[in-house]
């Protein structure tokens, strides 16, 4: 009978994993280690998920259904049955999102954990999104450029973020205490087209362990609205004539998407 139960359990498990309940997709979950100096083991719902996880490392993505997850973080050599967890929390993971969970220091220096949803929504062509996340033992900060605070990146407190969309480019910027413009730490920001560039301030500003982590995730990139590549009408004088594809356009689009030479049906010229 035990065999039967085990088998039934296996079948049920298989069914559960093959077809997650509900319409909501899983989330892509990244785990970041932003506490300097401590190698840790990360347990998710009681299972050892990341062993010997080093500071400044990123793990993932893990594909997880929506729900609350028990996350316990122990020093790497600790015994989870006997020792206390450094961090023991149950953050909620939403469905269908990109989520970054970071172990970090709170403003007062105690270890904590924050979960951020990564904004990967549509961007116009040539635009990049930048997220600045304050996960360091330090008071609220402003991001400053050219002697002034950057709109949308001010008064960012520990455990929160500022998000801006900028023309893709490099922006020499710095971190200053909120309300001031004295740069305490350089935070060069690159807005990469079609991506969310995420910068984490980690460690302890006063204690000298301050540093930056980063993630660059693909967002929904916009594309140009057209390709205007001629303005003189020389083609007509050249006597050429080109047939216009209408119906075939769809097939050719498929060929373009798949790189399939066999769909050359839509080709208008040999």
């Amino acid at each position: 009978m035990k065999r039967m139960i085990a088998l039934v359990a296996a079948v049920v498990m298989a069914a559960v994993f093959a077809a997650p309940a509900g319409a909501q997709d899983n989330s892509d979950v990244y785990v970041l280690h932003g506490i300097p100096g401590v190698t840790v083991d990360v347990y998710v719902n009681g299972d050892l998920t990341l062993e010997d996880f080093e500071p400044m490392d990123v793990a993932g993505p893990l594909s997880l259904p929506a729900g609350n997850y028990d996350i316990q973080i122990f020093a790497a050599d600790a015994d989870p049955a006997a020792d206390d967890a450094v961090i023991d929390v149950s953050p909620a993971v939403p469905g269908g999102e990109s989520v970054s969970v970071i172990a970090h220091l709170a403003e007062d220096g105690t270890p904590t954990l924050s979960a951020f949803v990564n904004d990967l929504s549509a961007l116009d062509a040539g635009e990049g999104r930048v997220s600045i996340r304050h996960t360091a033992a330090a008071p609220a900060v402003d991001i400053v450029a050219g002697g002034a605070a950057v709109d949308g990146l001010t008064n960012i407190a520990n455990g929160s973020e500022g998000v801006v969309v900028l023309p893709a480019d490099d922006y020499p910027t710095g971190i200053a205490a909120a309300g001031t413009t004295d740069v305490l730490f350089d935070a060069p920001v690159t807005a990469a087209a079609g991506q969310n560039t995420i910068v984490y301030a980690v460690g302890d500003l006063a204690g000298g362990s301050f540093g930056l982590m980063a993630q660059v995730l693909d967002a929904e990139a916009g594309e140009p609205t057209g390709v205007p590549a001629g303005n003189s009408g020389l083609l007509a004088e050249d006597g050429s004539s080109t047939n216009v594809v209408l119906v075939g356009g769809l097939l050719a689009a498929a060929a373009l998407a798949l790189g399939v030479p066999a769909l050359r049906v839509a080709r208008t010229r040999g």
Binding site: M1, K2, M4, A6, L7, V11, V12, V31, L32, H33, L48, T49, L50, F53, D57, V58, A59, G60, D124, A125, G126, A168, P188, A193, G194, T197, G211, L212, M213, A214, Q215, V216, A221, E223, P224, T225, G226, V227, A229, G230, N231, S232, G233, L234, L235, T242, V244, V245, G249, A252, A253, A255, L256, A257, P261, L263, R267, T268, R269, G270
Partner: protein, 233 residues
């Protein structure tokens, strides 16, 4: 049922296995009233299944050992590692022997109105917000068919045939070779921009210019000529 004997046996085995699992799952018994399935294979498969399951049962009975650690990909999340990565090589020139084209390539973006930037008559624009040669997705090179009364670099692009070779020289002094697999003319209204500028999927080199009827009032052509080429190295 398939008429190949061997295949039939395999099918029967699969069915039996599935039926077995279903029956076991439903009522926890080895009842063999599964219709068309013959008893003999059922027994065989049940035994095989039982053997496989046995160790699991044992493991459940005993104190569980440390569960296996899932293989989660890890990477260095230091800012300098993530953002200091060497940027990929970008196109600096393009050669198309069949058309006697050998032209410099310059990085371009988008105009304020959202259209792709196109350089002057003698240069080719590489869409710098998309993929570069050697990366997944579409590397887009666009050039004028004509510009301010002069023939542009891609004046004859519409004549480029399938099988022609296109060479893209990169700023790391390497050259990537492509072979043309398709040439299509689209009304601009139906140009599949999502595909032309796609940033993932198989690598393709996309050469674009204008073509078709010329609107002398708008000073604009009605079509885009799109040539696709795939890497051959």
């Amino acid at each position: 049922m398939p008429n190949t004997p061997l295949r039939s046996v395999r099918w029967a085995r699969t069915l039996v296995l599935v039926a077995c699992l279903l029956v076991l799952a439903a009522c926890g018994s080895g009842d063999e009233s599964t219709g068309a399935v013959s008893p003999a294979p059922t027994t065989t498969v049940t035994e095989a299944t039982t053997t496989t399951v046995a160790p699991t049962t044992t493991a459940v009975d005993e104190t569980p050992l440390r569960p296996p650690v899932p293989d989660v990909p890890r990477s260095d999340g230091r800012f300098s590692s993530v953002l200091g990565e060497d940027r990929p090589a970008v196109p600096v020139s393009v050669r198309i022997g069949n058309l006697e084209i050998d032209a410099p390539v310059v990085p371009v973006g988008v105009e304020p109105d959202g259209l792709m930037e196109i350089p002057g008559a003698s240069e080719v624009g590489w869409y710098r917000f998309g993929s570069t040669a050697g990366e997944a997705g579409s590397t887009v090179l666009a050039a004028h068919v004509d510009f301010n009364g002069r023939e542009g670099v891609f004046f004859e692009l519409r004549d480029l045939e399938v099988g022609a070779i296109v060479e893209v020289e990169l700023d790391d002094e390497t050259t990537r070779r492509y072979e043309v697999i398709d040439s299509t003319t689209y009304l601009k209204e139906v140009l599949p921009l999502d595909d032309v500028f796609r940033r993932s999927g198989d690598e393709v080199l996309t050469l674009i210019t204008c073509g078709g009827a010329f609107d002398s009032v708008e000073r604009s052509y009605e079509d885009n000529v799109v040539v696709l080429a795939v890497p051959i190295d």
